[in-house]
Amino acid sequence: MIKALLVTLVLIFALVLEISALTLLWLGSTQDQVLLDFLMQHAAASVLLVGGGWYFMPKKFRHPRWPMLLLLFNVVFFMPVLGGIGIFVAGWIAGYRRRDKILHPFSKLVLPEFVLSLREPEMKFSQGEIKSRLAHASIPTARRLQSLLALQGIPARVSSPLLQGMLGDSADDIRLVAYGLLDSREKKITAQIHRELINLKGAAGKEMQLIADKQLAELYWELVYAGLAQGDLRIHSLNQAMTYADAALQIAERDTGMLFLKGRILHQLKKHEAAHQMLRLAMEYGLPEFRALPYIVEIAFDQGDYAAVQRKLARLSTSQITPMMKNSINFWVPKPEESLPTLSKEYAI
């Protein structure tokens, strides 16, 4: 406080000295002595002004000390009045007006939000609803179209029959999209068949030929399995699959995969006895029973041999079958009479 008072006094004194010096000059004397007096008084005033002003200077401007003092003195001394005012204004602007900015050179920004998806997709309905929505023509076409598009994510074997049904829909859009989906699936398989046929033509050696034959048999089978071929074309595809499966078996007669496939093809062609034999042969060569048995059961069912169905299903261990198959077993196979729980020896005492 006292220091500030002293400094203020020094500044007032400096001001008085400066005014007196200027008065000398203003009086208009041309003597050298007067000029000398003015310079001395002005120099003293400048020293005091710089000394007093130094106290009010923001700290960051006080370094390096002596050069800064010299600079200030030069400005005040060589530019009488204006220099002093200039320094005061500059110091005020630099030190006080921009204080905040200078004290915080880095401005704060709000953290950007991490967005995974800009707009959250809304799940509109669960899978079970698709079928019922598709079936009702009263539901707006746009909504049914959404259901139809959802079928793209469902395996062809399940969705193809639904799509086939949609080909006769009253709404043009539904019909055409269903057609487009089926057509693109069919096109994909046909293109693969075409590629494999070329591979087969250029196959060097039995091994390459076997690979191409197996691929072709499976691709033709896929057309049928995925529900993409109907009527005569289905029969045609089955015959083609059979031709290539036979060709593959000519090269590798113990290929269980091909024997299994041939069994299923024969079954679809309604050649039940031959299909049964083929599946048994596949099992003989190492195909696990639990894979072949469901088909053997189906053949027995198609032949009307229900006793065999029951007998064979009972052989399937519940750990190796799908939940859907389990339902069939529950239906066909009588449950063993529920026995009372017996205590083990240790606890029987």
């Binding site: 800009l118 997709p121 080909l167 043009d172 005569d232």
Partner: protein, 506 residues
């Protein structure tokens, strides 16, 4: 090739991807209309995607075509020079408002009004010029804003370029409209880009606009877009909702819908070929009072002369007349031929139509013929003169997945050839009849579901195998075409529309 040029004409015909570069139903119809009105001078604008997609022109230009200009929307055009600019805030407020309005059917009208306000600004250097769209800060800010508000696809880069490539043709059309020669009325044969050009021309000149839609352009685009492989979808497995199509697909579909409504809004006459399509137009925003149906018609006497050339009993020849393109679903026809040949080994299946439009599809069809062992029975004849072809054919086949009102069925009927067709467009009405009096004429063939080769084969075998049924169908077809689908009826309807449009004075 030198195209005719003129200073002015009577009718400006706006053609997108059709006459004179593509042969097919719509092109034949355009040819028929131009030749049907020889006293009117026509100025044609052809809009295509890119020159590589089209060969030479497929039709001899009628004498009354006095002017033809050809424009390609996907052609690498010269863009305005890149110069940074701010963009006019007021204009962009309108652009913003217009886009907001187009989002909801209830506010569509407002959006169209705003669009109308913007048209005069759509020139280079104008407030809504292409340069402003491509390079201005306002435009960038607007694209960013829309992406943040609505886009459910994570890629901004794809969004940005989709928006750019989608909108650029609009300015090209504005440019075409600005430079077009004076005519007294405009007639567009589809909505889409040609339809928008019609709307822009009407806005500039005030001349009446007539719209004749054979298919429903917006619907066909939509179906294409549902399956198009080129539309990106960058959603990951967590973001993907299987029931929602990708945002860019939605964007394209909405864009074409907006083009459609813009054209419907500007058209003074909206012509459909049959009632189902007219209702669809109304559903898509066409004002019902401006819509009407004018079915296609054929030159009956020209084909009637062919009946005498036919053999006594129906030849076991099926013929599909049409371009070999996916929309005709030629594969279903080929598959049906497998069943037909199984039961009628002497049967032949002809495919008569140009094969240059989609060579991949042609190859797939030929592979299928090969794969089904039908090389001896199925023949690709290429383009054929109908008058030479029809007397040799026993049954016309149409296996298309989408049609309007196919001229080939009518021409077949006129020549006494019944048809089996899929249940698309107006085929049911052509074969079984529309109203009671029409139905009383009898069935001129059979309708089956789409993509059902077995049903197609059964229907064809039934007609070809039963001469009495075949004769009845042939008679019904002849009576139907002579009563309802003559060229004269069609010309009379269009004459009334043209006369009304041309009597308009600014």
């Amino acid at each position: 090739m030198n195209f005719p040029r003129a200073e002015s004409a009577d009718i400006g015909l706006l053609l997108e991807g059709t006459f004179p570069y593509v042969s097919g139903g719509v092109s034949s119809w355009v040819n028929q209309i131009i030749r049907g009105f020889p006293h009117y001078k026509f100025a044609l604008v052809f809009i295509g995607s890119q020159p590589e997609d089209y060969g030479d022109i497929k039709y001899a230009l009628p004498d009354n075509v006095v002017h033809l200009e050809v424009h390609y929307l996907n052609n690498k055009q010269e863009m305005p020079p890149v110069r940074p600019r701010k963009g006019d805030t007021k204009v962009f407020a309108d652009v913003r408002h217009m886009h907001e309005c187009f989002r909801f059917p209830a506010t569509h009208k407002d959006g169209l009004e705003t669009f109308r306000k913007l048209i005069p600004e759509m020139h280079e250097g104008g407030g809504a010029g292409l340069d402003t769209f491509l390079y201005s800060e306002e435009s960038w800010a607007f694209v960013k804003e829309k992406y943040q508000q609505h886009c459910s696809d994570p890629s901004f880069v794809d969004y940005f370029w989709t928006v750019r490539s989608m909108h650029t043709p609009v300015w090209m059309l504005a440019e075409i409209a600005r430079n077009f020669i004076p005519v007294r009325a405009f007639h567009t044969v589809s909505t889409g880009y040609a339809g928008l050009l019609g709307a822009l021309l009407k806005e500039r000149t005030g001349c009446p606009l007539i719209l004749s839609e054979h298919g429903i352009y917006t619907k066909e685009r939509k179906i294409d877009l549902f399956q198009a492989q080129w539309v990106r979808d960058n959603r990951n497995v967590f973001q993907r909702d299987p029931t929602e199509i990708s945002y860019f697909r939605q964007l394209w579909i909405r864009f074409f819908q907006a083009l459609g409504t813009r054209c419907y809004d500007s058209s003074d006459h909206i012509v459909a070929l049959f009632e189902a399509n007219r209702l669809r137009q109304v559903e898509d925003g066409a004002p019902a009072e401006r819509t009407c149906n004018i079915p296609n018609g054929v030159n009956v006497p020209r084909f009637a002369a062919l009946r005498a050339l036919r053999p006594a009993s129906p030849p076991p020849v099926l013929c599909l007349i049409g371009r070999v393109v996916p929309i005709k679903d030629i594969k279903t026809y080929i598959r049906a031929m497998r069943t037909i040949v199984n039961r009628m080994p002497q049967a032949e299946g002809w495919i008569a139509g140009p094969e240059d439009e989609d060579p991949d599809y042609v190859a797939e069809c030929r592979d299928l013929v090969d794969g089904l062992g039908l090389n001896d029975n199925v023949k690709f004849l290429g383009f054929q003169q109908m008058t030479e072809l029809l007397p040799k054919v026993g049954l016309g086949v149409l296996s298309s997945i989408s049609e309007g009102l196919p001229l080939v069925i009518l021409e077949g009927f006129a020549a006494g050839v019944p048809a089996v067709s899929t249940d698309v467009g107006s085929c049911r009405q052509l074969i079984y009849g529309l109203d009671e009096a029409d139905r009383a004429l009898g069935a001129a063939g059979c309708i089956v579901g789409i993509a059902d080769p077995q049903a197609l084969a059964e229907a064809a075998l039934e007609l070809l195998g039963d001469e009495a049924a075949w004769r009845a169908a042939s008679e019904a077809g002849i009576k139907r075409v002579e009563t309802y689908y003559t060229q004269e009826r069609m010309f009379d309807s269009y004459r009334a529309i043209y006369e009304e449009a041309l009597s308009w004075q600014a």
